[in-house]
């Protein structure tokens, strides 16, 4: 399993680039991961999403779907696509230090 040093910390990742231990995450790491996803600046909107999905993960044990962010987190789907273009659920989960959202089967 790949280990990378980010912002002075040893961080564990899976083969798809998702962190495997959410407790290693901090906001500095988020900024680096966001940059890798092509998001140069994390705005208030971004942080609102990141904090919601981290809290939701603590409660549910998995990264939320877009619909859940929408219904439970009150975050408009349009905004999600604007803040995290292409794949908001996946991108936001990666930046928030969580596992890949369980799409489905």
């Amino acid at each position: 399993m790949p280990v990378r040093e980010i912002a002075g910390k040893q961080v564990d990742f899976d083969d798809e680039g998702f962190m495997t231990n959410p407790d290693q995450w901090d906001e500095e790491i988020a900024k680096v991961l966001a940059d890798e996803e092509g998001i140069a600046q994390l705005t208030d909107g971004h942080w609102q999403v990141i904090h919601f999905i981290r809290n939701d993960y603590k409660e549910k044990g998995q990264s939320p779907t877009i619909r859940r962010m929408n219904k439970v987190g009150n975050i408009a789907t349009k905004d999600l696509y604007e803040w995290f273009p292409k794949g908001p659920a996946k991108k936001a989960a990666r930046i928030a230090g969580l596992g890949k959202p369980q799409g489905c089967v």
């Binding site: 779907t65 619909r67 439970v72 789907t77 696509y81 799409g103 489905c104 089967v105």
Partner: protein, 409 residues
């Protein structure tokens, strides 16, 4: 007498009614099953209706013919489940108290969840094939369609039977070839997934099939709305895909009664222990089939494997024993690939669909992730197996848990 109430008389509920009636002491347990209508639909057959392989009447039978005589079938919608009082209120104003409840209320399509989808174009040049109405309307439409751009679209995951969209495309390729208009039809698959299927190995192999059959793939497309006046699908990021004929798999959600009863997640699926099938919130409530929130496929084969596990766990619960972690996510699906051939996949929570052979005593082996005539016949024979063995809870020569024999990594 103690009471077991089963909500939903589809595949999962009907199998459970039969299995429990066969196993539980009849002088101790009254089993009651509730469904809103009298007709049981053979859902795997809906796929074949648009292409005139089955008629609309080929897939329906009376529900009560498949419920054992000693089980009470009540035809009524369900008003609300009150799990804290262990009772269910029906729309016909009956109240059913239960010792154990089995929720088998399934999933259904919700085109209303997508702006513009269920409006001007619905059943005009936009169709679903997950309902008998949709499949039968589409059959008539295709009979007269001169060709053009057909788009098959998955709005969002999860959906019932995730291989059905691919089967539909493979059959469409065959059907238009048979009609002599394949050169006039552009087939495009528009999906929110990163590839043709949810799991990597199968996605690669099935993706090659799409290529070979000249079916275009647009992946990671998250449908935001449909503009029926200009015949366009519009993604949340603004990307557009034009269509002449849209065949859509709308958002799937659990039954509205789950929402009314406050028992579901944001898609009205019931949070369920993924191995024991017990509800996470209520000890005397079990959930089976498409109604669960499990990360397994929503498919009849899954309901069937779950029924084996749930029958045993219900008996253990009744006898005061700890439940077994018996369900491993096992799914087993024939994939119709057109021109009289088919494929087969067999997988569970941990093992993705792999190529190889699938041993089946007496009939097999079938080939996994490979096109063969035998797989096609397996699929066609399954209708008989469904009505005569599967629903009645008979033993089939196939284990509830997945087996690695014959599979190649």
């Amino acid at each position: 007498m103690k009471n077991i109430v089963i909500l939903g008389g589809g595949t999962a509920g009907t199998i459970m009614a039969n299995k429990l009636f066969q196993t539980l002491a009849r002088d101790e347990w009254q089993i009651t099953i509730v469904d809103q209508d009298e007709t049981h639909i053979y859902q795997p057959g809906l796929l074949f209706i648009p292409f005139n392989i089955y008629t609309c009447n080929d897939v329906i039978k009376p529900r009560r013919d498949y419920i054992p005589k000693g089980v009470e079938l009540i035809v009524s919608s369900i008003d609300v489940i009150e799990p804290d009082k262990s009772r269910v209120k029906l729309a016909n104003s009956r109240v059913l108290s239960y010792d154990y409840l089995i929720i088998a209320t399934g999933t259904r399509i919700r085109p209303q969840e997508t702006d513009g989808l269920a409006e001007a174009g619905w059943h005009k040049n936009i169709f679903d094939f997950y309902t008998i109405e949709g499949a039968c309307h589409l059959q008539k439409y295709l009979k007269h369609w001169p060709g053009g751009k057909m788009v098959l679209n998955i709005v969002e995951m999860p959906i019932k039977c995730p291989v059905a969209p691919l089967e539909f495309l493979f059959l469409a390729d065959w059907w238009f070839t048979e009609q002599g208009i394949r050169d006039k039809v552009d087939l495009t698959f528009v999906t929110p997934l990163p590839g043709a299927f949810t799991k990597p190995k199968a996605a690669a192999i099935l993706g090659d099939f799409l290529d070979k059959k000249n079916i275009h793939l647009i992946s990671e497309f998250n449908t935001g709305s449909v503009d029926a006046s200009t015949n366009k699908l519009v993604a949340f990021d603004g990307t557009e895909v034009a269509y002449d004929l849209l065949v859509t798999i709308p958002t799937n959600m659990g039954d509205a009664v789950i929402e009314r009863s406050g028992m579901g997640d944001e898609l009205n699926f019931v949070p369920t222990n993924k191995n024991t099938l017990q509800s996470k919130a209520h000890e005397n409530v079990f959930v089976i089939g498409d109604a669960t929130d499990l990360p397994s496929s929503k498919a009849g084969s899954v309901a069937h494997f779950q029924a084996d596990v749930l029958t045993e766990n219900m008996q253990r619960a009744i006898d005061g024993l700890p439940l077994l972690d018996g369900f491993d996510g096992h799914a087993n699906c024939f994939i119709e690939s057109g021109f009289g051939k088919g494929m087969l996949i067999d997988f569970n929570y941990d093992v993705e669909p792999l190529p190889g052979k699938y041993p089946l005593p007496g009939i097999g082996p079938f080939s996994l992730l490979q096109e063969t005539k035998a797989n096609h016949w397996g699929k066609m024979m399954f209708r008989w197996v469904y009505w005569n063995l599967l629903l009645r809870g008979s033993e089939l020569p196939i284990q509830a848990q997945m087996n690695m024999a014959g599979k190649m990594r």
